[in-house]
């Protein structure tokens, strides 16, 4: 980097300002910000574990030109990086781990045909509990400041990474890794074998998660481990060159990256020289920076903002389904929600089409017990509507049957100071719909932090909840389980509390690893939950709209968070 401004008067070098002006900017990194914007989360497929398939091609927006090398992208992040520790980080960091680290294999939750074989070239699943991964040779650690040698990742790195997750109580993926009964590296360190304690249907969804990426073992032990707050060492497509608190991070292309572009004469990936991540917390500033060209990507807040920005044909737009939704949760241990009829009355009170039309301007779809982006493991639209269809008259009849009265008073809490615009837009519609169906709402608006405490400690009878980001179906199911999504009997107790057979069925679905059996079982489970009256109702899931400067080409789309693993995008400054 050039010296100070004053140097140009003494050395007559090219000024720093000019150097900055000529440096390219662009950003596909922001593509997944909306998808994982609520703190990361896993990626994965919607079907249970399957066998290795030939490497599927990457789905992306098709560009006619030949990919070009060079240029830098610039992405904005509303959250700062807390650490680059691959196992304990939250916030912005997790979004960038697919750029820096590796996973064995990743499956997309939105596109069941997408599979990204990363550190593993293939895997076998000889029985319900065992997974055997063949480690890819040549996945080489990039230059780094942690003193980690630039060597190939091997099976023992996987063992060390997962062992570390298991022993760090604050690690994000601990619940998943604790399901591992044993793991081992082969003598030549090129085969990794793990055994699960029980069959686990969502293995495929979780093994490629951004919260359980694999780093070289030297980076995970002292003295390097304590420097992970500021630095990283991995074999991903990029390396972390610099990070400044509150300002941003600079990622450069990893010169050792193993992957080539099969669709472009095996050209070395990634194409872009680097990604500059700028911390911009204020949304108005974020948008202004994008419009000014300081950022190359921008996640529009909603369809209306996307339409407004797209009116001048200055940008490209990528529209993706998103695994987020606002939900209504009922506590079946409190009256009146212990009554099936009252829960079903609430279910029929909700007119999802109104949210789709009024909040998302048509750019969303109705959810059932599973959200629609999860695909064919969610009930088909017609069948779903036959169970939960909008019918306020039926709601009133159910209330009458349960209470003898035309109306019922229920206390409902919600976060009153949500920064999520959609939540504030949902609330009045929801209140009006519930009132129209015979529910007299005793409002309990709470400050966000209060709501969060009460929500996680089951200190509520019912709650209209903030955006959930569930990349796969497991949490939706656990919300109907008596032990709740955290399996701690506190957070979100479900209808299984009233019907142990639902609990048993959820557990059985989660242990069904054969894909077709799993699909049949999860569809049947949803039917049975509807019959009992679900305790957790996802409303609608929208599309996200990410805008890019025109020079960004070949943007991966339709893959959800899995798009972060795809690095065939490029920058065409012409």
């Amino acid at each position: 980097m050039a010296g100070s401004f004053w140097d140009k008067y003494t050395s007559r070098r090219v000024s720093r300002r000019r150097a900055l002006q000529t440096a390219g900017v662009a950003g596909a990194a922001g593509a997944a910000l909306l998808v994982v914007g609520c703190g990361g989360g896993d990626d994965g497929g919607k079907t249970p574990s399957g066998e290795a398939s030939p490497g599927a091609s990457v789905e992306a927006t098709k560009e006619t030109g030949t990919p070009k090398r060079g240029g830098r992208s610039a992405a904005g992040s509303t959250a700062d990086f807390d650490t680059f520790d691959p196992h304990t980080a939250i916030a912005a960091s997790v979004t960038y781990f697919p750029r820096l680290y590796n996973v064995l294999v990743n499956f997309s939750s939105l596109d069941s045909s997408f599979r990204f074989d990363d550190l593993a070239t293939s895997y076998e699943h000889p029985d319900d509990l065992t997974y055997v991964f063949a480690i890819r040779p040549g996945v080489k650690v990039g230059p780094n400041t942690l003193g980690v040698p630039e060597r190939d990742l091997v099976a023992s790195d996987v063992v060390t990474s997962y062992d570390r997750i298991k022993t760090l109580p604050q690690s994000n993926a601990i619940a998943f890794i604790q399901k591992f009964a044993s793991q081992e590296a082969s003598a030549d360190d090129m085969t990794y074998t793990l055994k699960m304690t029980d069959p686990y249907a969502f293995f495929r969804d979780r093994i490629g998660g951004t919260i359980n990426t694999i780093a070289p073992k030297e980076a995970l032990t002292e003295p390097a481990a304590s420097q992970l707050k500021q630095a990283a060492a991995g074999a991903g497509p990029y390396i972390l060159r610099a990070y400044t608190e509150g300002q941003g991070a600079t990622l450069d292309r990893n010169p050792n990256y193993y992957r080539k572009d099969e669709n472009n004469n095996n050209e070395q990936l990634p194409y872009a020289d680097g990604i500059d991540v700028k911390i911009i917390t204020d949304r108005a500033a974020l948008r202004t920076a994008f419009q000014d060209g300081q950022l190359t990507s921008y996640g529009a807040q909603n369809v209306n903002e996307a339409k407004e920005l797209m009116s001048g044909d200055r940008y490209n737009q990528v529209k993706d389904p998103v695994n987020t939704f606002i939900s209504f949760a009922m506590n079946p241990t409190q009256k009146p929600w212990d009554d099936d009829r009252i829960r079903q009355a609430a279910m029929h009170a909700i007119n999802r089409q109104e949210y789709i039309d009024r909040v998302y301007d048509g750019e969303a779809k109705a959810n059932g017990i599973l959200h629609w982006p999860l695909g064919d493991i969610a009930l088909p639209d017609d069948e779903r509507d036959s169970y939960q269809g909008y019918d306020p008259q039926k709601s009133k009849e159910l209330i009458k049957a349960a209470t003898g009265n035309d109306t019922i008073e229920v206390e409902v809490m919600w976060p009153a100071d949500s920064a999520i615009e959609e939540h504030s837009l949902h609330l009045p519609i929801w209140l009006q719909q519930m009132e129209a169906a015979g529910f007299k709402i005793k409002a309990r608006p709470e400050a966000f932090s209060t709501w969060l405490d009460d929500y996680t400690n089951l200190n509520y009878a019912a709650s209209l909840s903030l955006n959930q980001v569930y990349e796969y179906a497991e949490f939706n199911l656990d919300w109907q389980h008596s032990e709740g999504p955290a399996r701690n009997n506190i957070y979100g107790i479900g209808v299984g509390k009233l019907y142990p057979e639902i609990d048993a069925e959820i557990d059985k679905v989660k242990a069904t690893t054969e894909p077709e059996e799993f699909k049949k079982a999860i569809l049947d489970l949803q039917r049975h939950i509807y019959e009992k009256g679900p305790t957790f109702l996802p409303l609608v899931s929208p599309y996200s709209f990410t805008l890019y400067q025109k020079k960004i080409k070949n943007i991966p789309s339709g893959l959800g968070a899995s798009g972060l693993y795809v690095n065939t995008w490029y920058i065409d400054e012409a």
């Binding site: 994000n172 509150g246 941003g248 917390t281 204020d282 920076a289 957070y491």
Partner: protein, 332 residues
Amino acid sequence: MQTFIVRRLLIGVLILFVLSVTVFLLLRIVPGDPAIQKCGLNCKEDQIKAIRHELGLDKPYFPVAFEGGAPFLTFNTASQYGDWLKGVVTGDLGTSTVNNRPVSESIRKRFPVTLELMLLTLVMTIFVGIPFGVVSAVWKNSPADLLVRFTAIFGLAVPVFWVATLVLILPQEWWGYAPPLGGRYVHLMDNPFENLKQFLPPAAVLALSSAAGVMRLTRSSLLETLRQDYMRTARAKGLRERTVVFSHGLKNSLIPVVTVLGLQMAGLLGGALIVEQIFTLPGLGDYTFRALFQKDFEVVQTMTLYAGVTVVVLNLAVDVSYAWLDPRIRYS
């Protein structure tokens, strides 16, 4: 004078102690567990416990606790407040509960940003507020006076966040220009032009209201001074009007302005919270703003104490400067 300063310093220490205890308690009374916020919704109980332990949130609040029964008093060798206060005294300001980085290190990195913003704002406040105040007083009730007064009222009335957002958005909408946002902070000595591109808009936003206040005060103070007998005497001696206004009038009317400037500097810290956020300046305001939202106990406590120290010191400096500015004032 020395006695006065020592007494004021002792009172300042007492104020800071009360302030720190109040903020410490308020942060903990407000619902919202930082461990849950850090861990996320799907965390298990043992994970939350581990984080609480790591953050020191499982320790008692204070070194001394009052019990209902016997023993009446219990003493805790390790406590959240005691540990924090001990750290402050020994220079260890603790570790951020959000990113686990030392608070002192973050403050050290961010302090120059806020300092530059404050100084630039102060310069703009002085160079805009005082001259326009003089113009307004000297040409009282003229169109220039009315324009300046209207502008001052506008500057005082509009909220900082609104002006800041407009200053950010409108130039982009109208002329396709935006100041550099996010990314790297450019140091003044590295590249003054880029640095000023980053700092002038937020400083101007902050200076708008403070300059308006200074302008109005300068005007009223100068008007009162201009009515004094010695001003008539100066004119009667045949001094030029410029000399009368600037040498005799303005000099004597600046004492209240200095007071207000000192207090405004302290108040600017609050404005910096918003402005640094909107203009993405990585300063102490931005740091505090994020910490408040994330319930980052260590940071909020330390930054509140920092703001308290700033106010106490500035107030003391203003009081001491009286004696220097006006020899008639003496402290006993």
